[in-house]
Symmetry: C2
Subunit: 325 residues, 2 copies
């Protein structure tokens, strides 16, 4: 007999593979099945692969489903559908759509008596929690979020949509000078484009288009316009060889005063060798919390703001008080 938390994974891309890996390092979990839209027999893994159409066969065998689909197309459909039958945790990261997503999932999870943790990852997620705590502690202050150095999928895709571009990768890089100002407690007014620069590696179909492509990139409003943007044209081989790693990271820095004079700087930072693997590890810790909230008979949708964080740890509270507090 096992008292392990029985987990399922929905989606087997980078995030799903990261969760499969993370579950092996958390021995209070057991992975029951990975659900995929592809042909399960063709997947190269020792885990139990199941077609997503058969997910309800596992209704009584899985304590928490870890949703590893994308926020653009997968989660808006899968989140509500699966929350109707299972406890879930997901990394929904479309910031402007969070209120709608919450409302949908919350209603369904309350009807199904399930727990759904949404927008769990590092931003939204750990960064959000640090923004909230810092602002509550030092209200007379300002919070700055810096992202990078890391590849932005959204910006890379925006470049790929330009006529004549075969492939492209875009790095978001925080500006050292801006971070220095913030850390010094100077509380500068800084828009996103004053906190970051952008470096693009572009594979053109034809090098004769490169001036036009560079102009189109730099004038793209909402993505590059206003930013310090550098464009390098490289070969496809170079792109694959040098720009396939998934390192990322960032900083949340809050700076403010307690008495108009004394300044305080609160900083949270992540330096990640592999962005999806780290997000997967966050998802697994919060899957533990989802399971425990369900044991407490909670129901509905919960963000990282709504959860006692003791629930993330496999250790009993008594041990946490004794060894970590």
């Amino acid at each position: 007999m096992s008292n392990k938390i029985r987990a399922g994974i929905v989606g087997y891309g980078n995030l799903g593979r990261g969760v499969e890996l993370a579950l092996k390092r958390n021995d209070d979990f057991t992975l029951k099945a990975i659900f995929t839209r592809r042909d399960p027999s063709l997947m190269n893994t020792e885990s139990n692969m199941v077609h997503i159409d058969n997910i309800l066969d596992y209704k009584n065998d899985i304590d928490v489903m870890i949703l590893c689909g994308g926020s653009a197309n997968d989660l808006p459909e899968q989140g509500p559908a699966i929350a109707a039958h299972f406890n879930t945790v997901d990394s929904f990261d479309n910031h402007s759509e969070i209120p709608n997503y919450f409302n949908t999932i919350d209603k369904i999870a309350k009807q199904s008596n399930k727990v759904s943790l949404f927008s769990i990852g590092w931003d939204p997620g750990l960064f959000s929690l640090n923004r909230l705590m810092a602002q509550a502690i030092i209200p007379d202050g300002k919070t700055y979020t810096f992202w990078g150095k890391g590849i932005s999928q959204g910006h890379s895709e925006a470049i790929r949509r330009i006529d004549g571009v075969k492939d492209a990768v875009q790095y978001t890089i925080p500006l050292e000078e801006a971070m220095k100002e913030v850390r010094a407690g100077n509380n500068p007014d800084l828009k996103a484009e004053e906190r970051h620069k952008r470096i693009c590696y572009v594979v053109p179909y034809d090098l004769k288009d490169k001036d036009r492509i560079e102009r189109e990139i730099k004038s793209m409003s909402g993505y590059f316009l206003g930013y310090d943007t550098t464009v390098y044209f490289i070969t496809e081989e170079e792109l694959i060889a040098n720009h396939s790693n998934m390192a990322h990271g960032g900083f949340v820095i809050h700076s403010g005063k307690t008495d108009g004079v004394h300044n305080h700087v609160i900083e949270y930072s992540l330096t990640l060798d592999n962005n999806p693997q780290f997000t997967s590890s966050v998802l697994v810790a919060f899957a533990r919390a989802a399971y425990r909230l369900a044991l407490d008979n909670k129901k509905g949708a919960f963000s990282i703001f709504d959860i006692p964080l003791a629930y993330l740890s496999p250790k009993p509270r008594e041990e946490l008080r004794k060894t970590i507090l």
Copy 2:
């Protein structure tokens, strides 16, 4: 009519004065009274000063008592006594005594139907929370806590107890080299004395004792023995002029791997111009949480691990999801 949270302060030292200040910057609070063991009529403040013997007169007028006494002598007595009648928040920081303190307060607060948040500050407190989260997310890793640069009251007092010492101040300073190793993901084994050095400023009664005093400091087990310790002898005037500031800070760095190869570094750091004022600000944010937990009909003792952090913010959850998540 006011719907403000009615706060009381117990103790009017650096921490109590910091809370008085912080409450002014959080306009959902109103300060009803400051309780002191000294003669209230002699206190230099516009706040309502009340002798601590009359604290029960305020039983129906105060939603949460913010306990600002010391952990050595005040809190072990005041914590239980006041939790019997009021919701409380305190910064009990005697790590080895936390389990006992919790057991005492938890029993009393459950009997009185009150909420007591204990060990709220930055360590224990914010640092503890970051240790817990990081370890839950990346279990295959190591956590390092660095303190400083800042004055350690415990170490300063240890020096003052040496024969021939008139006054003294001790700075705990994190070792840059150790931090660099940790941030690089090398996961070195480092004892506290391999992470910090100690610098002491000592005012001797008689300069002829200085060699003996220095020897006694450096050989003090549990405090200085094994540490890189530097001792400077200075005058009382110099001590007051140059070593009265209350800056402090520190770092919690967790580093570990997701797949045996890819490393991730999670870092939380504080740079504080005024240690007690910052701790006071943490106490006030958690006083808000104590009040809300009480509205939820919770009772007993809670650590920072047990509280949904949305409760720290004056903003409604809907706004938090929309603007901070």
